[in-house]
């Protein structure tokens, strides 16, 4: 699956979590985490290790870390932070969409 599609799927999953604001259940955040990790794994699997790949990896890892705070909160769920992470993800998806898919 193209990275852009994966990123859009992940964005939809995070949007779903933000819309539903679930608590005491694992489905919604689990789905968001899984889709985000697919993006991360795709980036990790790319053989070309350039600055853009590393920056994107850092970007997506940050989003994963914040979304995990919703899945496994330390206190109340930091919805505002998750909303910010959602925007980072949207920026990422837009950037990915704007670039030709790198080979390898």
């Amino acid at each position: 699956m193209p990275l852009e599609t994966q990123a859009r799927d992940a964005l939809a999953a995070v949007d779903k979590a933000l819309a539903e604001k679930p608590h005491k259940e694992g489905h919604t955040f689990s789905a968001a985490a899984r889709s985000l990790c697919l993006v991360r794994d795709s980036l990790s699997a790319r053989q070309k290790d350039d600055a853009m790949r590393r920056r994107w990896l850092g970007h997506i890892n940050a989003v994963i870390s914040v979304v995990l705070a919703g899945h496994f909160p330390l206190g109340s769920v930091p919805w505002d932070e998750i909303a910010k992470a959602r925007d980072w993800l949207a920026d990422f998806a837009a950037e990915v969409g704007a670039r030709p898919s790198p080979k390898g």
Binding site: K21, H23, K24, E25, G26, H27, S30, A33, R34, C37, L38, D41, R54, I64, S65, V66, L68, A69, G70, H71, F72, P73, L74, G75, S76, V77, P78, E81
Partner: protein, 849 residues
């Protein structure tokens, strides 16, 4: 309290533990106390060997401990059985709580501050009126968004918390507790717990009769308390009882946490826990104001009490870890520390494997396929990893799940489809390595290797040390900021022998601490500084290695007859080789022992200092009549009076009511277990509203009164097989003593279901099904709960498919749920179905004929 101090108790309540079987070495002190006349009580769903040796056995339905203990609190308050002089002076019983506080009695079962949308609490209305009180635990703040210094904890320096010594104010702690526990009557205790009213009263009377100025009582607990979604609150309930009875800081008084391994205490002190830096310093959190070291210290350091010293401990820790790379201009290396976003304890970690978040796993000294809850999900998670490293001295179920696992045997996973690369590495046993264990008495005890480990076996220290060396080598030339922490890490320990074993004593020396300039060992944590001149790997351990060549943990000098009985020459107990925490409370307001036979420390007026049989847990020269000068806004210990013994608390008082630090309420409240065959008789709220739950496919929960799962199931250990079991299941001598898994069933339930002794049964939950032979025994008794009979069954969780003693894994049945405060899993008081017969698919386990 120290294990050996149990013999000074006049009453011992063992609850949440089968101490005689699972802690037999410590239980000898219970036996000694009983020989001296103490009353021994065992409160437990099962009648065990501990029950057989007790004076009273009080059976309760699993998961109803707070109802039972709350009943004792009510009994103490309503019959005026509390130790008034102690309680009025040393606890917060007279403190007035914020006007906004609302009790579960008023709100259908939740405290004020509960947000139903998030399932979490804010603590604002639990505070002392006009104050914001920092907690005494590592997470001084438990919410994700907090104010900064100047607006909150500083209020503690402006004057003492408001109190009403007449105890008439409706929002003083005394009145709040009376209202909160008013319905926890003996009759209600019987209705909820199933314990007969008269048995409950016998326990309450024995405990209160044996407490006070001249007598003391102790509680001993184990995972029978902690493995619930209300585990911390159960312990809190006992703490309230002990506070009311004056059983803290005094000989024979206290609450003893019986640990499940030799060094569980040590792994909390120098932690393998995600949310703590060594010796109970808070791990930085991204969403708190922890962006810089100064902000972290400003927001986390309590203004009053001993924790005001936190900056000295944090900076010294950073110096120990990062050495010359910890400098004033880089915040002493603070930015090298990872910052938390969420809960990354074991349960989330397992779930994150399933989601593909976690890609690799080291397993050292654990066997989670057997020991972690929801074993099938654990297997599925392990099967999602890229790599798995298991270190153990014999093959474990965790290491060969891909080959012999339940899911492989059932055809749900295929070995060739599992991508996990598994590395199984042999590890050495305790006698093959140097090191320490820290036991439940906070006693750090050194042990020497007595022989070399065979073959390729290596100590865990060897493995971690050499792994660290290789990682440092790997990242030596990296320019990535994320690798800077590994580059900066001090990792130079002397090696010995051909195997290059690092010297464990060098690690202990570093934990103890030293002066940076001349590398001299530091004898006490009072000498630690926040200016970078001292390094210390764990401030509470300072003193364990106070000088070159002086390893106090090696010391083995017991007290003889006529000595103090503190055994101060035996190893090292943190902090400061102190045996009894808060021992200032053993003396009255004027510094005189409450009684001659129950004395530990006292004020020596002539010498102008505290003295006695133990190291005083107080500022040595602070007079009993010292009072803070509030006009100067005193900080730290200057803000505590000479009669405030609980120095880790911001007000120096035993907190009967907890204003900060707990995520599920300031007072223990009875909630049913998440899975229960009955409705909560006390509140509309069925179970702990702040419990950690993660329902998902494979981790479904049973609703209350689910007729498909009518029986209460609890799991436990056996004397003969140790924990995850592998060490004793591969040893013929112990394996033959408990050769096969079994489920304990009462004769009444066996008759009802047509189960015969030693016949096969199937236990099932929504998580999975297993089979085991039935042990039909009167040790299990049905409970009368309201107008219903509730049956309970019990099963040891120590079996698996490896070794000589085999059987299905009980943890297949359990769900992943967590205590609201600690994320500790639930292994007690779940529900299940039971039927005679066998599974169609045996799951690959070889059963004894």
């Amino acid at each position: 309290m120290a294990l050996w101090d149990l013999e000074n108790a006049d009453c011992i309540v063992v609850m949440g533990s089968n101490m005689a079987e699972n802690h037999p070495i410590g239980f000898r002190f219970v036996v000694e106390a009983q020989r001296r006349g103490a009353t021994v009580i065992h409160v437990d769903p099962r009648f065990t060997r501990t029950s057989a040796l007790a004076n009273i056995h009080a059976p309760i339905r699993s998961g109803t401990d707070i109802a039972f203990l709350g009943g004792i609190i009510n009994h103490i308050l309503e019959n005026d059985l509390w130790f008034r002089d102690f309680v009025m002076a040393y606890t917060n019983i007279a403190t007035i709580i914020d006007d906004g506080y609302r009790d579960p009695e008023q709100t259908g079962g939740v405290f004020s501050g509960f947000n139903a949308d998030t399932g979490s609490y804010k603590q604002d209305t639990w505070q002392y009126k006009g104050k914001i009180v920092p907690s005494s635990i590592s997470e001084h703040r438990v919410q994700t968004q907090e104010k900064s210094k100047g607006g909150d904890f500083e209020a503690m320096t402006e004057g003492p918390p408001p109190t009403d010594p007449t105890l008439q104010h409706p929002n003083c702690v005394y009145q709040i507790m009376r209202r909160h526990y008013a319905r926890y009557t003996p009759e209600m205790v019987e209705r909820v717990t199933g314990c007969p009213r008269d048995t409950f009263l016998a326990v309450a009377n024995a405990l209160t009769r044996n407490s006070g100025r001249e007598k003391t009582g102790a509680f001993c607990y184990a995972v029978g308390w902690t493995h619930h979604t209300v585990g911390v609150q159960i312990i809190r309930a006992a703490a309230i009882i002990q506070g009311l009875l004056g059983n803290i800081g005094r000989p024979g008084g206290g609450i003893l946490a019986l640990r499940g391994h030799a060094s569980i205490q040590g792994s909390t002190d120098i932690p393998t826990l995600y949310n703590m830096l060594p010796t109970y310093l808070p791990q930085p959190i991204v969403f708190h104001q922890h962006g810089t070291l100064q902000n972290y210290l400003d927001t986390e350091t309590p203004a009053t009490g001993w924790w005001a010293n936190m900056p000295k401990y944090v900076v010294s820790l950073l110096k120990a870890w990062y050495g010359e790379h910890a400098r004033p201009d880089n915040e002493w290396g603070y930015q090298f520390l990872p910052k938390l976003t969420g809960d990354v304890s074991q349960l989330p970690m397992m779930l994150s494997m399933l989601d593909g978040v976690v890609k690799g796993q080291f397993i050292l000294g654990q066997n989670p396929v057997v020991g972690a809850v929801n074993s099938d999900l654990v297997e599925r998670g392990l099967a999602k990893l890229d790599w798995l490293v298991v270190r153990d001295f014999a093959m474990t179920e965790t290491a060969n799940f891909w080959q012999k696992g339940r899911l492989v045997q059932r055809g749900e996973l295929r070995p060739e489809a599992i991508g996990t690369e598994v590395f199984f590495l042999p590890s050495s046993l305790a006698g093959e390595k140097d090191g320490t264990v820290t036991n439940t008495s906070r006693l750090v005890q050194w042990h020497d290797a007595v022989l070399e480990p065979p073959g390729d076996s290596r100590s865990d220290l060897w493995f971690i040390y050499h792994l660290g060396k290789r990682l440092k080598q790997l990242y030596a030339d990296s320019t990535e900021p994320r690798d800077a922490a590994i580059q900066a890490l001090t990792w130079t320990y002397p090696e010995r022998g051909k195997r290059a074993e690092p010297k464990a004593e060098a690690v202990l020396r570093e934990i103890n601490g030293y002066t940076v300039a001349d590398r001299k060992q530091i004898p006490s944590y009072q000498q630690l500084k926040d200016d970078g001149s001292t390094a210390c790997g764990g401030w509470m351990y300072c003193g364990v290695y106070p000088a070159d060549g002086h390893n106090v943990a090696r010391s083995r000098i017991p007290d003889g007859p006529g000595d103090t009985g503190s055994h101060a020459g035996w190893a090292f107990s943190w902090p400061s080789n102190r045996r009894t925490l808060y021992n200032r409370a053993s003396a009255d307001l004027d510094g005189r022992p409450w009684s001659e036979q129950k004395k530990i420390v006292w004020w020596d007026e002539a010498a102008g200092k505290w003295t006695g049989k133990d190291v005083p847990d107080f500022v040595a020269t602070k007079r009993p009549d010292y009072r803070p000068d509030w006009a100067t806004h005193p900080h730290g210990m200057d803000a505590l009076g000479g009669d405030d013994p609980f120095i880790m608390e911001a007000d120096g008082r035993c907190q009967l009511f907890v204003p900060s630090g707990l995520k599920d309420g300031p007072l223990p409240t009875h909630y049913e277990p998440v899975e229960s065959p009955v409705r909560n008789a006390l509140y509309d709220q069925q179970f702990n509203p702040a419990a950690k739950l993660w329902t998902r496919p494979g981790n479904e929960l049973h609703g209350p009164e689910d007729p498909r799962f009518p029986y209460v199931l609890t799991t436990y250990r056996l004397t003969e097989l140790h924990c995850g079991g592998i060490i004793s299941r591969v040893t013929p001598h112990t394996a033959e003593l408990q050769p096969e898994a079994f489920v304990e069933v009462s004769p009444e339930l066996a008759r009802e279901l047509g189960i015969r002794h030693l016949g096969w049964t199937v236990l099932s939950t929504l998580r999975g099904e297993i089979e085991a032979r039935a042990m039909v025994t009167e040790r299990m008794r049905p409970f009368r709960i309201g107008d219903r009979t509730v049956h309970q069954v019990g099963m040891p969780w120590v079996f698996g498919w490896e070794g000589y003693a085999r059987g299905d894994i009980a943890n297949v049945l359990l769900a992943i749920t967590g205590d609201a405060n600690t994320s500790i899993h639930t292994t007690k008081g779940i529900t299940c179905a039971l039927r005679p017969g066998r599974l169609q698919n045996l799951g690959g386990v070889t059963h004894a004929a």
